[in-house]
Symmetry: C2
Subunit: 299 residues, 2 copies
């Protein structure tokens, strides 16, 4: 099974600390390296993990608040100086074209090729092996949460293929696509020589007030990554500033019947009491962890 690699490049909230950079989550899958949000200092976080930003294929922006995007201009400049030759594909909510044009003015010029995609709810990217879906969130500015979904895949049962004496020919591709074939005048059903490898789903929900769409988007995720800027004691503040509490995060994971939860976007006020946040979430959803900067995860 092809691995999904996750790197937590930044796990802090609006004010960065010694321990936590502004938000950024890097997802690697096959030839794709997708960055979700790009807070200030992101290019240096890549350096700390010894990952070349030149491997980036796409950037998804959840919303255009400074702590989620101020790493973009510096990243663009460094890519240009690193002879980045791809077309960097950027996806974000309404306003993305506008903000990219402002960054262009700030830098005088962007010396790499960008493809800007303003997206909205629904399937925002659909590739052979994976897709990305989005739902609108509630944070006072156009905001999206994203699910990265590796599609189910038909796999050949190699033993059965060998037993039937099937050669390594394009006909195998037909079987893998679920099509029955005729071989040596005998019909071979795709279903009899293949099995279904289940896909995986990772949902990333950053700044938002608690809302039903977050639960819908996260449905049956293998992993939900959410912000949590407040604890339940400050539930009123969380509503006022349109953020999630740790309990909200756990409720999303639970109600969506997801398998695991990682909490990020941690406020400096909780740095020395992270166990309280973790405990609060675990009351509602046991398989919860708190992200730290430069954490690496394989899925």
């Amino acid at each position: 099974m092809q691995r999904i690699n996750l790197a937590f490049l930044g796990t802090g909230n609006a004010i960065p600390t010694e321990m936590r950079n502004h938000t950024g989550i890097l997802l690697g899958f096959k030839n794709e390296n997708i960055l979700f949000d790009c807070g200030e200092g992101m290019q240096r976080q890549f350096r700390l993990l010894e990952i070349s930003p030149a491997k980036l294929t796409r950037i998804f922006i959840t919303h255009w608040h400074g702590d989620h995007i101020l790493g973009l201009p510096g990243l663009f400049q460094t890519l240009a100086m690193s002879n980045y030759t791809r077309k960097l594909k950027i996806y974000g909510p309404r306003g993305t074209n506008h903000f990219i044009s402002i960054i262009k003015e700030l830098l005088m010029h962007i010396n790499i090729e960008l493809e800007i995609n303003e997206v909205d709810e629904g399937t925002v990217l659909d590739e052979d092996e994976f897709k990305i879906e989005a739902k609108r969130m509630d944070h006072g500015t156009p905001s999206l949460a994203y699910s990265f979904i590796v599609k189910d895949k038909l796999r050949l049962n190699k033993e059965k293929i060998k037993k039937l004496g099937l050669p390594n020919l394009p006909i195998l591709k037909n079987l893998q696509d679920g099509k029955d074939i005729i071989f040596n005048k005998k019909k071979i059903k795709a279903s009899s020589v293949t099995y279904r490898e289940l896909g995986r789903k990772i949902t990333i929900i950053l700044d938002t007030k608690m809302n039903e769409k977050a639960i819908e988007l996260a449905k049956n995720s293998d992993l939900v990554i959410t912000e949590s800027t407040f604890s339940e004691e400050e539930a009123e503040k969380a509503k006022e500033y349109m953020h999630l509490t740790a309990k909200d995060a756990a409720t999303i994971a639970k109600k969506s019947k997801s398998k695991a939860l990682i909490i990020t976007h941690i406020s400096q006020r909780y740095e020395h009491n992270l166990s309280a946040i973790e405990k609060e979430a675990r009351k509602t959803f046991k398989n919860t962890k708190i992200a730290r900067d430069l954490d690496i995860l394989e899925l």
Copy 2:
């Protein structure tokens, strides 16, 4: 003598490394905390040194290339969230108003009060005890280098004052201002009861091609801080990209008859061979040091 404190918040060049953030030099003198340039990640460098950015009084920008200014928007946001109540005074070359207005658009709004000063050659700030002078540099975009100058000061010779039986009255202020006074019907010459405390001069020369004005500005500095992006071996590249070599930096220090040189804006290509840069500079100017991130200096 009132100290001048220097903090090297960032000493890297266009691409930051594990060791070096983008450029920023903080100068503290009495109630002033003046930042020279503000590359990406600057607010986190303040955190690492446990200096509150809320103490900032002024920011001087040498030029508007990304690696010298991309820390501004995040810094403005963090100041706003830190209840910054001062008016932050910003100085920079032609274009400063334009670029600040772009940052305003990127952030949607700047929630602190800014005073923008587009400045040119000459005395760009003149306060009671210090002044800042500027000269145009040569870097392909409007660029300035700055000298921070603590003025000479007349000090009272306390022993002589005591001997003459002078009371601690406003008349002492007159002496300190260099004015003669009459006391008990007797003329007291200011020059007879005061001595001159010499000022100090720190010159900061960032991105530029070698030029005569750099030497003029630096004249008789106690400390010259210059960029050096290349070594003498790459002198042609230095000219092409309009930067200084280590030898250029040392030549500026020597010809300006300055006392000390600190080299910053170090390229990642030299990180593992800093002694070569240092050696090259010391051939021309002995009292040379290479800055490292978070270096602190008192003058």
